[in-house]
């Protein structure tokens, strides 16, 4: 059997196994081990324990649970609500001001938590009922939060970017910086769409006529600013190369615990323990997938699948944009079904050589890949954010939430196209701050 047909067989088997509803981590592990046994014999299982362990024992991976703990700490405090309230006081008189506050709050909260569902939940819990109360159409209220929440994995620090960095051996600091401008671009596009929508259906939304004094406008700042400074600090030490991502994340997590204790009086052992438990749960889930993916990619490369796919694509001599289009569609479809981390660990090691071979920038590609994953978060069948929103506003119903999210999906596709035409959106800032080249 040629490596390429083995590759196809592995691909099909993986899809079938994952479709049974088996946890992704164990599904990947059983496919990897199964193919090793079939093609390399039973003895090849001897290395599996060591491979699994060494896939996990990487100092850089420590940053993942640390950033998750940081996000869980912020999410468990009322910081999300304050953030949103603070923005609303500035924007309440602008058309669709509340939707704009929500999207902007999502973008900022995304930076704090690095997780899309957490962002959705934290801002949506306050934002969606308030928007509906003030006459915003249900679709816009839920769609803007669902889409705003997806920014969590693009705007740094982002857990999926760390996973990409580890699986492709690219600089995590540089990846983070590459995500900044595209994240802002998407935020602005979401905001622009909300304003267009609002002016078109104008009278539906009762505009908030209250005028806040400067004092009221600044009142919430002392509670919100420390968190923003913390994120800025993390980005600063990362791009400056002062500290490793794990160090920055560990200190960031500790600082977050201190901030929520000082600002929101969240210090009770019971509540801290709850935050720890929930971050452990999420970290374990992601780390198990990463460990299993180490087995999966070992199987692929020991059966020469990875190499022959690269050779095969190179031999096809397709136009690089056709290749990119095909990769985008592939990622989009994978993202419809699988969580971002799983898609990245499974595909990035195979895709990156192809991408760099035809002259695309790996950091730019990380951004394109991430936006593809963002789309998967707000499209069926497993759009995680949609279910979070459905949990917050069950009476709206999934079909309406979906319809509301659709314009934002299209905006993200436009975002990807813009990135293709102007790759500088992703590469300019890292080049400026960290110098050109990799």
């Amino acid at each position: 059997m040629s490596p390429l047909s083995i590759g196809i067989l592995i691909g099909v088997t993986t899809i079938l196994v994952l479709a049974t509803g088996i946890p992704v981590a164990f599904g990947l592990a059983i496919v990897a081990m199964g193919f090793l046994v079939i093609f390399d014999g039973f003895f090849s299982l001897g290395f599996v324990g060591e491979l699994f362990f060494s896939g996990l024992a990487d100092f850089t991976l420590v940053s993942i649970p640390m950033f998750i703990a940081m996000g869980a700490a912020v999410a468990s405090s009322p910081a999300g609500g304050d953030l949103y309230g603070a923005l609303d006081r500035w924007l309440n008189r602008v058309p669709a001001g509340l939707a704009i506050s929500n999207i902007a709050a999502c973008a900022v909260f995304a930076a704090l938590s690095g997780s899309s569902p957490a962002t959705c939940a934290a801002i949506g819990k306050m934002g969606i009922p308030e928007m509906r109360k003030r006459g915003y159409p249900d679709g816009l209220a839920t769609g803007s939060i669902a889409a705003g929440g997806t920014l969590g994995i693009l705007i740094p620090p982002s857990v999926t970017m760390i996973v990409y960095g580890i699986s492709t051996g690219t600089s995590i600091g540089r990846l983070f910086i590459a995500g900044v401008l595209p994240g802002l671009m998407l935020t602005l596009m979401f905001i622009a769409w909300s304003m267009v929508y609002a002016t078109r259906s104008g009278s539906l939304m009762t505009r908030d006529r209250r005028i806040f004094s400067l004092r009221e406008k600044l009142e919430l700042a002392p509670r919100v600013l420390p968190f923003l400074l913390l994120v800025a600090g993390i980005l600063f030490v990362l791009y400056g190369g002062v500290a490793t991502p794990s160090e920055a994340a560990g200190v960031g997590a500790m600082m977050c615990f201190i901030l929520i204790a000082v600002i929101y009086r969240v210090w009770q052992p019971r509540r801290i323990w709850k935050i720890l438990k929930s971050s452990t749960r999420e970290s374990v889930m992601i780390m198990m997938i990463i460990g299993a993916a180490a087995l999966f990619s070992y199987t692929l490369s020991s059966l020469f699948v990875t190499q022959s796919i690269a050779e095969w694509i190179a031999a096809l001599e397709v136009n690089r944009w056709v290749l990119l289009g095909a990769i985008n569609i592939f990622l989009l479809v994978a993202g419809f079904f699988l969580p971002p981390v799983a898609v990245i660990v499974m595909t990035a090691p195979i895709l990156l050589p192809l991408i760099t071979q035809v002259g695309f920038d790996p950091y730019w590609f990380a951004v394109v890949l991430t936006i593809n994953m963002e789309i998967g978060l707000i499209t069926p069948p497993v759009g995680l954010n949609l279910y979070v929103i459905n949990g917050i506003a069950p009476d709206v119903g999934l079909p309406k939430i979906l319809a509301g999210a659709l314009p934002f999906v299209l905006l993200m596709v436009v975002g990807i196209l813009l990135l293709c035409v102007f790759p500088q959106i992703a590469t300019w800032l890292p080049d400026l701050l960290m110098g050109a080249g990799n």
Partner: protein
Amino acid sequence: MSDEHFIDVLIRGIHALSRACGTLAALCLASACTVVCQMVVMRYVLGASTIWQNEFVTFAIVAATLLGSPYVLLTKGHVNVDLLPHYLAPAAKRWLALFASTLGWLACATLTWTGWQYFYEAWDAGWVTSSLWAPPLWIPLLPLPVGLGILTLQYTADIFCLASRREMPFGPPVTTDDAP
């Protein structure tokens, strides 16, 4: 009926064990966070060199992952694609759940076995890690057979609960609120 009672006690015992593992995992995570901060203070504030912290933190996170996995399985936190099950009739759904769980069990059991072999080799040969600190390698490897072993045990209990209709197939995730 006393027979059935015994099984239920056993299942409760396994669940308690998985929960205890979850607690241990959370403690590992907390210790990793604390040690990272200690390391940063030592290195960047006091300008001292650090010897054991990098490795300790890395292994603490590995331990948290391996020990935490049975707890996450118990609380249905391992993410899966439940699209197909969603559209199946109850009976088919149950069979699919049994099939998926058996595959998962096989993965965990194989990992436990190879993990045990790796651990045993390190123990038997007295290997140490490659760093300056050089602790015996079997210590960080211990969570490999222990965590994965308990994970396999938890899976066994899950499959039994499914087969004996004690549990619904593809149930919703359990929130951490009701866990200790």
